[in-house]
């Protein structure tokens, strides 16, 4: 090996001993200590950290639930009820896990909204975006598998409807569905494999999250103005500034999720899932988890089985190519006077799709879902490429520090608001 390798020296001899054999200490110092964050990042930039913390919480609570859960059609429902009634703090584990899933999606949706609005998906972070969409896909698969496990009516019929989507594929569809289920309908074989996959997929997610974070650290984080760090004056060290900021965000998040876990643990649950699965009776309304409802609305908006399935999967796949559909070089929508409004319209539209996805697909709701579907795909295929071509972006600041210089210009002498304090200036002895 390279005898001339420079070994970082720390004050602590134990750290030195480790560093000499495995340079992991300097890696963490570089990536989570000295890592430069743009100093204009707002709280939207805390949602990546929140998502990571939620993922770990989900894995831990899930492992403890698995210790008391039985993946068998005759016993699954009862074992979940036993967790709720007899297992010490079982109710807490389960409510953390079920509400944690919902909050995980809330956080990830905000994280995606941030990435879209401030153009984080653009050069040079395209691969980062692709990994992110991949994580989103894995999350949807994992949450669907997990929703099956309590073996209530919604579990059973949700699993039936979703696995039947595959039967829409011409020629191989029926065979593929049977292979996925291990039976001709959702049964014990299905429950067993769903449990096995639900256990392992979060660790796959964890791995992809590692790549996702490593990728963002190569070119650094984006920021609300969408311009690159040019000098040391533009950034602050991750430690302690961003760590403290993320901790504040985590406290706020902890309050919000605790309020739901302790005071409204079933707010986001479906009543029908407290009825044991019955293969002979379909509930009047099969409702997906709210966080998957926008895609369910797209599925139902199409009067053709294969077409609906293709558009639903297409709605997710299209996200992968967003970096190439958007031709504008300006990242942040703050400097894109036209696209900004279409982008906000997209978020509202997504919300509306989710709302009608939870309601019966008929009459006005069906019409709204169809208009929403048109806007969803229109946004990607027409608005995004076209607006990037005709729009004249506002003038970008020269640097991130320049943003603050402009902010203080109108009220010189009016106080310290907006002036980066000396403490915020990054140490130059990096």
């Amino acid at each position: 090996m390279d005898k001339n390798r420079k070994v970082h020296q720390f004050k602590n001899p134990v750290l030195n001993w480790i560093e000499f054999r495995l340079p992991i200490i300097s890696y963490f110092k570089k990536e989570y200590g000295d890592y430069p964050m743009p100093k204009n990042c707002n709280y939207f930039w805390s949602f990546g950290a929140l998502a990571t913390i939620t993922l770990v919480t989900m894995i831990v609570s899930g492992i403890f639930l698995a210790m008391n859960y039985t993946p068998h059609t005759d016993m699954a429902f009862d074992s979940v009820e036993r967790i709720m009634r007899d297992v010490n703090y079982g109710w807490l584990m389960r409510y953390i896990h079920s509400n944690g899933a919902a909050f995980f999606f809330i956080i990830v949706y905000i994280h995606i909204v941030r990435a879209m609005y401030f153009g984080s998906y653009k050069y040079p972070r395209e691969l980062n975006w692709i990994l992110g969409v991949f994580i989103f896909l894995l999350m949807m698969a994992t949450s669907f598998l997990g929703y099956t496990l309590p073996w209530g009516q919604m579990s059973y019929w949700g699993a039936t409807v979703i696995t039947n989507l595959f039967s829409a594929i011409p020629f191989i569809g029926e065979g593929l569905k049977t292979w996925l289920l291990g039976d001709y309908n959702v049964g014990n074989a299905t429950l067993n494999r769903f449990f096995a996959l639900h256990y392992v997929l979060p660790f796959v997610i964890f791995g992809v999250v590692g790549l996702h974070v490593a990728a963002v650290h190569v070119h650094g984080s984006n920021n609300p103005d969408g311009i690159d760090i040019k000098t040391n004056n533009d950034s602050v060290n991750f430690f302690p500034y961003m760590l403290i900021k993320d901790t504040v965000a985590m406290c706020a998040f902890g309050v919000a999720i605790s309020a739901v876990i302790f005071f409204g643990p079933n707010l986001m649950a479906e009543v029908d899932n407290y009825i044991p699965a019955d293969p002979l009776v379909t509930p009047a309304h099969i409702v997906p988890n709210w966080y998957l409802a926008p895609f369910y609305a797209i599925l139902r908006a199409v009067p053709d089985k294969l077409g609906g399935v293709l558009l639903m999967f297409g709605a997710i796949v299209i996200l992968f190519v967003l970096p190439w559909l958007d031709r504008s070089k300006v990242r942040s929508c703050n400097y894109r006077p036209i696209y900004k409004w279409f982008m906000m319209g997209f978020f509202v539209n997504f919300f509306v799709l989710g709302y009608v996805g939870m309601l019966p697909a008929e009459g006005l709701y069906l019409l709204i879902a169809r208009v929403g579907l048109l806007y969803y795909f229109g946004f990607f295929f027409f608005i995004t490429p076209f607006v990037g071509w005709i729009e004249k972006p506002s003038k970008l600041p020269l640097s991130i520090s320049d943003v603050y210089a402009k902010n203080i210009a109108p009220n010189i002498g009016g106080g310290e608001k907006g002036i980066p304090s000396p403490a915020m200036q990054k140490d130059t002895n990096l």
């Binding site: 039947n164 002979l280 009067p303 294969l306």
Partner: protein, 175 residues
């Protein structure tokens, strides 16, 4: 571009190694994939005999066969006529009523919507039966007629007819 014999030999070795490796990997993966298909005991799930003597005209019962609901309906004269009146060529999944029944008053169907697998309503008197007076799937709004054929909504096919035989006038064997 003529290659030297030495290179040819190396190419051959490389190619055969890669090929053998690929075949070996595929052979190794196959049992894992195949283990996910329905097991032998699942495939062996047998047939079900049903006593139909108690079913009145216009009445319908639901039984469980291979984990799925099966509808057995004794149709009224009106329902049979309504099913026969339809021109098969006008349908999404063209099929004559005569091809879907063995005895025209007895309709036997797999009660699973061909869209996304819900159980359609229409078995109880109080149920919604849809615009064609047969079955109506509440999940995504598919309407089936009195022969179980798809008439309106997203489902692509008619309700399946399972294999069945009349053992005598009062007993049907399904499967």
């Amino acid at each position: 571009m003529a290659k030297k014999p030495k290179n040819k030999r190396r190419d051959f070795l490389q190619l055969s190694t890669v090929t053998l490796g690929a075949v070996g990997t595929a052979a190794f993966i196959w049992p894992f994939l195949k283990s996910m298909s329905p097991a032998e005991d699942t495939l062996a799930a047998g047939s079900t005999e049903v006593d139909i003597s108690a079913i009145e005209e216009g009445q319908s019962i639901t039984i469980k066969w291979r984990g799925k609901p099966v509808f057995i309906k004794k149709r009224t004269k009106d329902e049979i006529n309504a099913a026969k009146m339809v021109q098969a060529s006008d349908l999404r999944d063209p099929q004559d009523d005569a091809d879907r029944v063995q005895k025209e008053e007895w309709l036997v169907l797999v009660g699973v919507c061909t869209h996304l697998g819900c159980v359609p309503l229409g078995q109880k008197v109080s149920d919604m039966k849809g615009e064609y007076d047969g079955w109506y799937c509440p999940c995504h709004g598919s309407h089936y007629d009195t022969s179980g054929r798809i008439r309106k909504g997203p489902a692509p096919k008619n309700l399946d007819v399972p294999p069945y035989t009349f053992l005598n006038d009062n007993t049907i064997k399904i499967g």
